[in-house]
């Protein structure tokens, strides 16, 4: 698989570390249920999936990659952090 790093160009997935789907926003209260859902529950879609990858063995940027989990087709990749 080749992940198109917005900074470095397409690279083999061995250069990346995957962290899972981009879920709902991280809660900031004390609601244990909200935390449970955030930490444990996953959409786990079969289809276009927004997910975190870090170009760990490259530029170390965390990316949000949109990838079809059925075909592995990459539909987009952008830095998780917009600098400026």
């Amino acid at each position: 698989m080749r992940i198109p790093c917005p900074y470095c160009g397409p690279r083999g997935n061995e250069e990346f570390v995957f962290l899972g789907g981009v879920g709902p926003a991280r809660p900031d209260g004390d609601d244990a249920d909200a935390w449970h859902d955030y930490v444990y529950l996953r959409e786990n879609v079969a289809g276009a999936h927004r997910e975190y990858w870090q170009h760990t063995h490259g530029c170390r940027a965390w990316l949000v990659v949109t990838r079809d989990t059925r075909s592995h087709a990459v539909l987009g990749a952008e830095p998780a952090e917009k600098r400026e």
Binding site: C8, G12, H57, G58
Partner: protein, 165 residues
Amino acid sequence: MSDVVVTERRDLSLAMILVRRGTLAAVEDAMRGRYGLELPAAGRCTTGGGVTLLWHGPDRFLAMRDGGDATLASELASAFVAAAYVVEASASRLVLAVSGTGAGEALSRHLPIDLHPRVFTPGSVALTRSAHIDVLVWREADAPCFGLACASSYRDSFRRSLSLR
């Protein structure tokens, strides 16, 4: 490929430059003013005033200068004032120079990136991985030579992976 020569560059000053967010322009000005040097774009390096600046991730640069007098970091720090953090890095990396007409071909055995001269033009930089070791590789802008750097603790294994003992 027998003409490939690999040398370890020992007498170097290295410094990591972390640009604070929103201050890129200030750092650019400082670099221009102090060294007459442009900040490299992603995947590029620039050289001037004896200093080479290697892109090292978003808003990060590795500065390199011949001579291990360790003044580079403080010099840069004073040039940037608060616009960037400068971290002494001279001891952090093994740096190799790979030269010779067969250098690109020899390196392409080891590096997963495309080193074709049409793609990896002079002044190109890449952060990648070889033999399970993270490496920084660049093609010198003004010499038929590649630079390679990896964390200094991997020195022996990295040299060995390139079949250098």
